[in-house]
């Protein structure tokens, strides 16, 4: 699924790359930008955390890459800031994007959302992202979020907004990285996948191993084997034997009246029903009669 996301099929989506201090998601972000540039798309990057030069490293064709430098002066302390954090609202973003003319609707990349969330309240950021997604000015939004920088509720709220979520964690062996992907389709279905991958020098993603999403079926199918076949002794019944078996009276099988009485014995409590067994000697005489006391 990672490769499909890289091809960028659906529009109007918000892809969120969630990383932690253990493994940076910026390489994956750059490979997404690279894939978009290869497809001749216009990419607008708002970078808060890295300098422009560092971001441009590794890309071959940069004429469609527009970087809005918010790294030098994000809070607008000098009055000559290119882009400040306070400008992260729908009107300012669309104005800035519309400054450069282009044929196709652009893709917006935000590096990173964590920086914005530290300075602007979460509800404003969420509503901006949502309006940007719905507005139609941008084709797709890709954002990077550092999950360990925020409270769980904040991370959860931004994740809730996303249509695709990639969580990157370091994999157990070597430099590779493991990605868990959750994608919400337009029809409401949720697809999940897990990959181990590494990123090459030219920012292409190489999948190493993808584990199965379907759980291993532990239940083996058992064929219906007739257990009474192939035995050295006989387990089947002939008709006569079946009749004799049904005639056999079992210890707790009572007569019909007694059964009925026991089953419906709500009304008349305390009635004793006695049915003499075959071995019982039912003698009405009192055995104490011949005592001379």
């Amino acid at each position: 699924m990672l490769l499909e996301l890289l091809q960028g099929g659906d529009s109007g989506g918000f892809l969120l790359i969630q990383d932690t201090a253990n493994y940076s998601g910026r390489h994956l972000l750059k490979s997404f930008i690279n894939a978009a540039l290869r497809r001749d798309e216009e990419v607008h990057v708002f970078c808060f955390e890295t300098s422009e030069e560092e971001l441009k490293e590794g890309f071959q064709e940069v004429q469609r890459l527009h970087i809005h430098n918010a790294y030098e002066d994000p809070l607008g302390w000098t009055k000559k800031a290119v882009f400040t954090v306070q400008q992260f609202s729908l009107n300012d973003l669309t104005r800035v994007i519309k400054l450069t003319p282009h044929q196709k609707t652009p893709i917006v990349v935000i590096d990173s959302l964590s920086w914005v969330l530290r300075h602007v309240c979460t509800t404003a950021v969420c509503s901006t992202l949502h309006q940007l997604k719905k507005g139609g000015f941008v084709r797709a939004i890709i954002g990077l979020l550092h999950a360990d920088m925020h409270q769980k509720g904040t991370v959860g709220s931004v994740r809730h907004l996303s249509t695709s979520l990639i969580t990157v964690t370091p994999s157990i062996m070597g430099d590779n990285c493991q990605a868990k992907i959750t994608k919400r389709t337009k029809s409401g279905k949720v697809l999940q996948d897990e990959h181990t991958f590494s990123i090459k020098e030219d920012l292409t993603v190489m999948l190493l191993k993808s584990s199965n999403t379907a759980p291993q079926q532990m239940v083996q199918e058992e064929h219906e084997i007739d257990p009474t076949a192939n035995l050295t002794f006989n387990l089947r019944l002939s008709d006569k034997e079946r009749e004799a078996k049904e005639k056999l009276s079992l210890p707790f099988m009572f007569s019909k009246e007694k059964k009925k009485a026991i089953l419906h014995s709500g009304a008349n409590l305390g009635r004793i029903l006695y049915e003499p067994d075959a071995n019982d000697d039912f003698d009405q005489e009192d055995p104490d009669d011949d005592l001379d006391v």
Partner: protein, 405 residues
Amino acid sequence: MADIRTIGVGNPGVKSSSFNSTSFQKKTRSKLLSIPGTRPSVQNGQLLVSTGVTSLDFLLGGGLAVGAVLLIEEDRYDSYSRMILKYFLAEGVVCQHELFLASAQDSPDDILKELPSPIMDDVAIPKPMEQPRLSSDPQDSLEAMKIAWRYQNLPKVQSTLTSSSRFGHYYDVSKTMEAEIQQAAKCHRFYLPDHPNQTAPTHSPMLESYSALLKSLQEVIQKEGFEVSKSRNILRIGLHSLGSSLWGDDLCCCDNPKHAHALTTFLYGLRALLRSSLAVAVVTVPSHLIQNRALMGRIAKLCDTAIALESFKGSEMETNPLYKDYHGLLHVRQVPHLNCLASQFPDHRDLAFKLKRKQFSIERLHLPPDLSETVSRVSRVELPGAASTASVCGLSTSANKHLDF
């Protein structure tokens, strides 16, 4: 008797036939309103509407009481709670009630376009619950079981929750409702981005978005005349994902939110509005994002009925063989007792749901019989291991002798 006749107006054959209740019918002197799509409850005479999901109706004691709020705690990806909201609205369209839909995330028109289409011919008719055979022919009943005859009169395990009288409708999820049917229903919409930045009264702890919503609801109820004295129809209110950050509420974002009382004040106002009008509300809240459990408890207390959905998607329970037939668990958090002393809690607490094409079924989760081979035998691999660790215990000598009968 004239009084008993009025009870059966909405649905003939409403005589209760569930296993536990009696055939006692309460005499009521008041004239019951006969609004299409509603019926009086057999327990306390409340006017009930169907939620659109018949199993959920059964769980809630026949349906949703008019004037009450149903709170649905959303599952992680908001797939099934949204489905129940759509069922609720679709039921309103079919019963010709009026609808009010409010949302901050998706446009109400988009949600209305996705309503499931009703199944007109009654293909999926639920089987009535089995009656105990107390008064049946004794010959037949006693011949039924030869050895276990004492268990004959106990009811069979009924895992799907159904009642014998049909109230709601069935919907086909794979098709959407036709435009003609949907447009025949009157629907009021509230989409938050269309109501930007209104000034809220400064003393109110409620947010502007919630105040705007409440005001809009009040206007609709007054203008369209849904007050109890003069109304002939029911208003179904669906509020999608209240409390999420798109409503401007930081309930889901922070552990100690600034607007801790915004949603609770709104719910209080909503319930006050509903009690004096013929309206029903279904509210979904993304409770998995709310970090403060005390707040969640307060929100549930302010609504009448509260259920929580927990979907298996993405969690480790997906691979558990116990849950492989189901899509998630359903927890009933709260059931109201309106005008009576005790509430009708469902008998079974462990419920699981499954979204099938023609039915959203809620079933009792019961353990299937464990048919694997090693279920009740001591594993033979373990015994030698035990022998090696237990040196002078009596176990060591008998480890190799497996007692076989």
